[in-house]
């Protein structure tokens, strides 16, 4: 395949993404907007794959488009069952105009700066360092090496971000009521897909050490299993209750932090794994992170505290 043929594909993808973004942002029906956003996410995953970022493509398809799309669709249902949709008042013309000019100005400046920076600097950047140290990281996939070793501190804090969001969602009230039971075809499909998703999550987790994949993609796949079970009419999406649920939710960052602190002996810093153990420790952290991510994503999809849980707490507020 010649270089030019691929560039045509690039231009087409870019145009498609632009159209989808504009349509998603300005479509008249919110439902349509969300569907377009999900499509936008999937096409973005294609763009990631085209830019040789398969890890990101997997994450975008499962999390950025899949889980986020499911969240948005569920939120739209709140709208229908709840209060009437308030017709959104338009902004005065001067605001629209000034914001538009401002944003266009910012966009052109940023584009100019990007072109300038891009033209003047094209080297391996940090990629060279990663390649040089990859053999010492314990894993063969450079992205996993960055996520769980070189920049593991980012990932630890990121799990904390997910936990903060989960705690926030839980304190906001009980979960949505379970959907009405689905028909036989869907129920069968769910019964059939769920084990498959669990197996593929395990595969993606395992393969992440040396090929695209890892804890986040695996966690999202597991979460997809939970979300599908919920759509099939399952009340708790297969999650355990009470103490075990809480333990799974904090387990990812807990094990991560514990390993990071335990590594800190002698001259070693936080998260400085012993070299021989790095691969094993990373796998251990990833297993717990996968479970935490999956549980957190399913819980935020349920939209709050599932009602039968946590009997020590009062139900509802208002």
């Amino acid at each position: 395949m010649s270089f030019d043929a691929l560039l045509i594909l690039d231009v087409l993808l870019a145009a498609l993404l632009l159209m989808l973004a504009i349509a998603a942002l300005h479509s008249h029906s919110m439902h349509q907007s969300i569907i377009l956003f999900i499509v936008f996410g999937l096409v973005t995953a294609l763009a990631w794959a085209r830019l040789k970022a398969p890890d990101v493509a997997l994450a975008e398809a499962t999390i950025g488009s899949g889980v986020a799309g499911a969240l948005l669709l569920a939120a739209l249902r709140d709208n229908r069952s709840g209060s009437a949709i308030t017709p959104s008042p338009g902004r005065p013309a001067w605001q629209v105009l000034s914001v538009t000019y401002l944003v266009i100005g910012l966009m052109l400046t940023a584009a100019w700066a990007f072109l300038d920076a891009h033209a003047n600097n094209s080297g391996p950047r940090l990629g060279g360092l990663v390649q040089a140290e990859l053999a010492n990281s314990g894993v063969g996939n450079p992205v996993t090496a960055v996520l769980l070793n070189f920049r593991a501190f980012d990932t630890l804090l990121e799990l904390a971000v997910l936990l903060a969001a989960l705690l926030g969602v839980l304190l906001l009230g009980p979960a949505r009521p379970a959907p009405r039971p689905a028909g036989p075809v869907v129920t069968q499909l769910v019964a059939w897909l769920t084990p498959l998703l669990i197996v593929s999550a395990g595969y993606v987790l395992w393969v992440g050490a040396h090929a695209p994949g890892g804890a986040f993609q695996a966690g999202a796949l597991l979460a997809a299993g939970g979300i599908i079970m919920r759509l099939g009419g399952s009340r708790y999406s297969g999650l355990p209750s009470g103490f075990w649920m809480r333990l799974i939710a904090v387990g990812g960052s807990g094990v991560f932090l514990f390993v990071g602190l335990a590594a800190m002996s002698g001259d070693a810093s936080l998260l400085q794994y012993p070299r021989d153990w790095a691969g094993t420790l990373i796998l251990l952290i990833e297993i717990f992170a996968t479970l935490s991510i999956a549980a957190s994503l399913v819980l935020v999809y349920l939209g709050g505290r599932p009602d039968a849980w946590a009997p020590d707490q009062e139900r509802g507020h208002a």
Binding site: L106, T109, A110, W112, A113, F114, D116, A117, H118, N120, N121, G123, R125, L126, L129, V130, E133, N149, F150, R151, A152, F153, D154, L156, L157, E158, A160, V161, L163, A164, A165, L167, G168, L171, L172, G173, F243, R246, L247, A249, V250, S253, G254, L257, G260, L261, M264, A268, S269, L270, L271, Q272, Y273, A310, D312, Q313, E314, H317, A318
Partner: protein
């Protein structure tokens, strides 16, 4: 030394996880974690004071590849402020959130917020700072919504969207910087910054995003609702610490990363916005009918002083004057941190006792809640900048630096701001000391009253009388 840095972040994080896993024990776990991480901060602080800056590459990888932690004097001071204010807020919170349900909701998020703050003060990596910003933002939003009241939820939602916009602006700047310079390490980026398009647009995007989070006028529109509708301990943390974190990052980026790329016009612009913030915030505080709203607008105004200081920093030549201004900024930030948390905690006591916080109906508070009223008076003294508060010295140095630089507008604005502050503080005190029947019965609330009092005392007496060490240390370290 390096253990101390790691522990200041790891301890509150560990506490948060434990408190989330055992909600029934969350108060005990919470207090314990705050004490332990306070001890780690104190340890780190003494180490920085005796041995100088601490620097560590996490994971033992080389610079650039690893995330670096860096504790200099400024970071150590901010950590200490956070630890002390957090301790007072935590003691207060054990009484404020009495029901186990509320406590179980408060503590894990509060500890996550502390971990994010400590991480933000220590991190020397541009992307890692983004993650700490998001952790800070999301936990702060969740805490704002804690009461579940409609106004609080609405404020929290807006706070979240604004915060996300701010952090994505910051992240866009980081993306441009990585395109241009190929690294995320603050020190390495700082060495490569030049007057070129990438540096300039990154400066605009990152500063703009952070100003949105720091609520500098006219980007403050979200702050009064969020700060005034959160539960009292959360308001105290938001006003005293969370907005400071945004300012801290701006200060850090401007002095350490973008110093080469900042034009005098840019510094002027920030200074003018600071002036507008002082006038507008003070005026709105004067007009406010509720105490919490007054305190929130006062935060808008006080942030203005910090940015006026930032402008002076970039118009004063390096040397002793530079350190005077830097010390003044730090002192203003510290004083405001202690005073505003004291004020919000005290308002919380008044609100719980009286059932409202309408200023016009506060008469008689001083008889029922003498300690709390005294705390409000102390905090007010510091907000106005009367001697012997720390803000007095801070403002004094800012004023003399403005006079030296011939910036008469700043002198005028700061004087007007102080007068307005005096007006809004005395308006509150006038009512509080007024004689009238106070509807509620006197209750011994020592554990809830003394944190505010202690913070107020630190703001007025300790920082005012003992602040010379800041300059002494800045001179030694330069």
């Amino acid at each position: 030394m390096n253990e101390a840095m790691a522990l200041t972040i790891a301890l509150p994080l560990f506490g948060a996880l434990a408190a989330a896993a055992w909600p029934g024990r969350s108060s005990v776990i919470g207090i314990l974690s705050v004490l332990l991480s306070g001890a780690a901060v104190t340890w780190l602080f003494t180490l920085v004071m005796t041995h100088g800056e601490a620097y560590q590459l996490l994971g033992g990888w080389q610079a650039g590849l690893a995330i670096a932690l860096h504790a200099d004097f400024l970071a150590a001071v901010m950590l200490l402020l956070t630890a002390l204010v957090a301790l007072a807020i935590s003691v207060y919170a054990t009484c404020y959130f009495r029901s186990p349900r509320d406590a179980a909701r408060f503590w894990p998020l509060w500890l996550l917020l502390l971990a994010a703050l400590n991480g933000l003060f220590l991190s020397a990596d541009l992307f890692n700072l983004y993650v700490t910003l998001e952790l800070l933002g999301l936990s702060a939003v969740a805490l704002t919504a804690l009461s579940g009241k409609r106004a609080a939820i609405r404020a929290a939602l807006r706070y979240l969207l604004v915060g996300l916009l701010g952090s994505l602006g910051y992240l866009a700047g980081v993306a441009i910087l990585y395109t241009g310079f190929g690294t995320l390490d603050m020190q390495q980026v700082g060495e490569r910054i030049a007057v070129d398009p990438a540096s300039e647009i990154a400066l605009i995007l990152m500063t703009g995003g952070l100003l949105l989070k720091t609520a500098l006028f006219p980007l403050h529109f979200w702050l009064p609702a969020a700060h005034s509708n959160a539960p009292a301990p959360v308001s105290a943390a938001l006003s005293a610490l969370v907005v400071k974190a945004g300012f801290y990052l701006v200060l850090r980026l401007w002095t350490e990363v973008f110093a080469e790329a900042i034009s005098p016009q840019g510094a002027m612009l920030i200074g003018l916005l600071g002036c507008a913030a002082i006038i507008w915030g003070s005026w709105q505080a004067l007009k406010a009918e509720r105490l919490k709203l007054l305190a929130a607008y006062s935060t808008v105004a006080q942030l203005g002083y910090l940015f006026v200081g930032l402008m002076l920093l970039f118009t004063t030549p390096m040397g002793q004057d530079y350190e005077l201004v830097l010390g003044a900024i730090m002192l203003m930030a510290l004083t405001h941190g202690f005073a505003k948390s004291s004020l919000f905690l005290a308002i919380g006591v008044v609100q719980q006792r009286a059932g409202h916080d309408r200023i016009a109906e506060l008469d008689g508070t001083s008889q029922r809640l003498p300690a709390t009223t005294f705390a409000i008076a102390l905090a007010g003294t510091a907000l106005i900048g009367l001697p012997p508060s720390g803000a007095f010295l801070g403002k004094w140095h800012l004023l003399s630096a403005s006079i030296d630089a011939g910036q008469w507008l700043l002198v005028l604005v700061m004087s007007i701001g102080s007068l307005l502050a005096a007006a809004y503080v005395f308006r509150v005190l006038g009512h509080a000391f007024g004689n009238a029947a106070f509807a509620s019965r006197p209750v011994n609330m020592a554990l809830q009253e003394w944190p505010a009092l202690a913070l107020g005392l630190v703001a007025t007496l300790l920082l005012g009388l003992g602040s010379h060490w800041i300059w002494a240390f800045l001179e030694i370290s330069s």
